[in-house]
Symmetry: C4
Subunit: 264 residues, 4 copies
């Protein structure tokens, strides 16, 4: 039994660098199923496709949920083979709370909740979050994750600065423009919709100032917005440079003290 | 008296790294009140909420102003405990002119001006600048501030270059397009509204050229705009890299070989 | 014969740094013809120019195809002078499958396919891919290519992250907005059109949310989009820095002290 | 005479770091006059201001042209004091062809051409190029200029890549969309207007695809556009980093050979 559980653990664990046929096959199968399922959920939302291929969509869904449930149970059951989750109960529980395990749970939960009496439309949409299952297999995501984590504090502050800027900018614009366009700048929350469109340079064109002062303000804010969004870009650029130069340094320079030759 | 004043100073000063319960409690209370107040001012601008919850909004405002006034008075009064503002009169005055103290004053001033006969609508909007009070507590803002200050001259020049570009571009476009669309490109200032929307790539869609030459120019300017706004991003990226590598250098230069004590 | 083939090979090969008059002349002629031809194909698509100058366009096309065919045949024929493609049959075949040779083939194929019974309109458009022939002559493209190749994995992952984000964001927005605007958010694929316009900040303005919740979501997504697109910029910025510092390092590591010859 | 000419040269030359009162006064006066004049030309284009303040605008223009003409003549006359332009005729001619001298000429030429029978409206617009005269006084522009010059080749190539991409993308889109919207995608040049709006993410909203295939293509191109414009940003970011680290290196490290102490 234990040996079988260990094999299951190894077969599912994408991280241990195993290149045995069975592991690759399982990975490919699961990735393929996730992508097929994602495509099916997207297409199912198109009314005429929904009517025409209802059976196909239901079939893909059933098979997917069956396989993903099996995968989830197998992962939780075999998780105790991992040193970190050795304990049969608390170990498995801690494993079940890891991000990847939660994504796996999220992938099957909507189906079982549908069997209860929950809001069907919402659950159908939630099914699309299954696509996050593929992130498990993408190794190159790590550099990006490391850099984002390294700059987390500054990135969050930037979001805060953008939020504060949005509040100030929208309050001033509300004062300037609300009389000329009470239907579009009628309150600060409404004005914020213009603020976001301008700061992010999306500019849908449904809301824009028409008074001269409003246009001057809007211009200043659009320029300011580009300046603001230069901050996260600069942060990430410097983060990538640091992360990679540290990795190089760690690899290349096994430093020694030039005086006594002691390895540093 | 002096001991109490010192306690007040320490309890309010977020910078001295104190972790005593009372300081944390006061910080949390003030941040919470600022956020509550900001939300209230934003929601109060929505007409039907204004009617329905007028009492709540007035209550939050009164309590906030009371607390913020108390905070301001306490800060100015206890400022003399700080070495930099020792003198009872000029010290407090210099403290009152620091950016954070001015923001604190701005947070309470509108209320007292309202009691006089000033423009209510404008003062209501100014109340939102209270949200700047939270910047006092965000430590991670410093790196961004340092980098912006380090590149101040170049960032200002970039703004100047953008302004000059906007003037030139709008004057040419005015010449090209004013006959075809006299209502939208009828003068250089009016044409500048198009210029900003194009250079910043906001593109609301209320103004755009319709003549072939105007479209060619507009295309060149949109590309140029993206190039221009690459300058501040590049400046900030290089600024973050420098700032952090200097901090690393400052940290590492103090290193010694752990074996022989030779300075590295 | 062999000597002539070698001359042809040298005359056509832009890479060997030859500065002989004939090579320069051929390069200039071919670049000029590509640019002339590109301009002609673009202008030919304008109906009234097509009618008026049909003869000229046909003439340019005929001459171009004749020259480009000659060039292609000469390149394939003389390719065996290059060490890498020595073999008369497999060498030439391998040469014919290199990106530049494929572009050269693509430049003449449409003409010959037109002589068969293929879709004329499509082939006319394909003719414009001839413009890619100029990339052969642009040496400065290499740094950009090297950096993109160096960061290939991360750039691809970023595209993947954008795709996943687009799917999730569009599915949630479909749920939120489809009842209010069934004509524009009627299915997830339709909602994706809004998703792209928002994430990329293009914001054409044909589709935008009108419900308050939709506007809040849209705002979050626009900010997120700018954050996402900061990743490739940061990657490229750090890539250029690395690539150039490596080139410097490679140059400098060969330095010696000019006084004592000690290797530095 | 010579001594007076030398004084004029020194008084006008912003570059020799002189801090004498007269030089500063002249600089401030000229900058002020340029800014006043720019404001006047911009406001003069507003019809009702033009009518109301015609005299003022004419006055500012006359004074400006008089001063700028005097300045130009003085600069050309005293240029021979500069070693580089010693010769009385060819030296002054070469000086007159430097960028700054050409800008100074451009600032006064429109007025004298107006006295001839030239197109008034165009010349009025050209007057705004006077604003470029201020660039002479902005020292912080140099870092930006150095970095742009350092990366010139790659930046130009990026512009080329964007142009090629625009041509290919527009030709394919023309094929896909011209039947559905013959008025907006009726030829490749017309489609390029959409192409620019999408690649640069300006998205005015006057032209966008309505066919499903057109929307898919447009989405891909918007994402590609953001990737393309990440290249100049990355180039500039790495350029600023290099430029500044070279300046640091030049300042701080007077390197010595660690073997013999020879200065490198």
């Amino acid at each position: 039994m234990n040996t079988f559980r260990y094999s299951v653990h190894r077969a599912l664990d994408a991280d241990d660098g195993g290149t045995a046929g069975i592991e690759r096959f399982i990975d490919t199968l699961l990735i393929g199923l996730v992508l097929l399922n994602t495509a099916a959920v997207i297409l199912e939302s198109v009314p005429h496709l929904h009517l025409q291929y209802a059976r196909w969509f239901a079939g893909i869904e059933l098979v997917s949920v069956y396989v993903f449930t099996l995968e989830y149970v197998a992962r939780v059951w075999s998780a105790v083979e991992d040193r970190r989750y050795r304990d049969h109960i608390t170990g498995r529980l801690r494993f079940a709370l890891t991000p990847f395990a939660l994504i796996d749970l999220l992938a099957i939960l909507p189906f079982y909740l549908t069997l209860g009496g929950f809001d069907l439309r919402f659950l159908r949409v939630v099914r699309l979050f299954r696509v996050l299952k593929v992130t498990r297999y993408v190794k190159a995501l790590r550099l990006i994750q490391q850099v984002v984590r390294r700059k987390r504090a500054e990135l969050l502050v930037t979001v805060g600065v953008i939020a504060v800027m949005l509040i100030l900018v929208s309050s001033v614009m509300y004062y300037v423009e609300s009389e000329a366009q009470p239907d579009k700048f009628g309150s600060i929350p409404e004005t914020m919709w213009w603020g976001v469109a301008t700061l992010t340079t999306v500019g849908y064109g449904d809301v824009f100032p028409i008074t001269p002062l409003g246009k001057v303000l809007s211009s200043l804010i659009a320029v300011l917005g580009l300046g603001l969004f230069a901050i996260p870009t600069g942060l990430l650029a410097s983060g990538f440079t640091e992360q990679i130069s540290e990795q190089h340094a760690a690899e290349q320079h096994a430093n020694f003290c030039p005086n006594c030759g002691h390895k540093l």
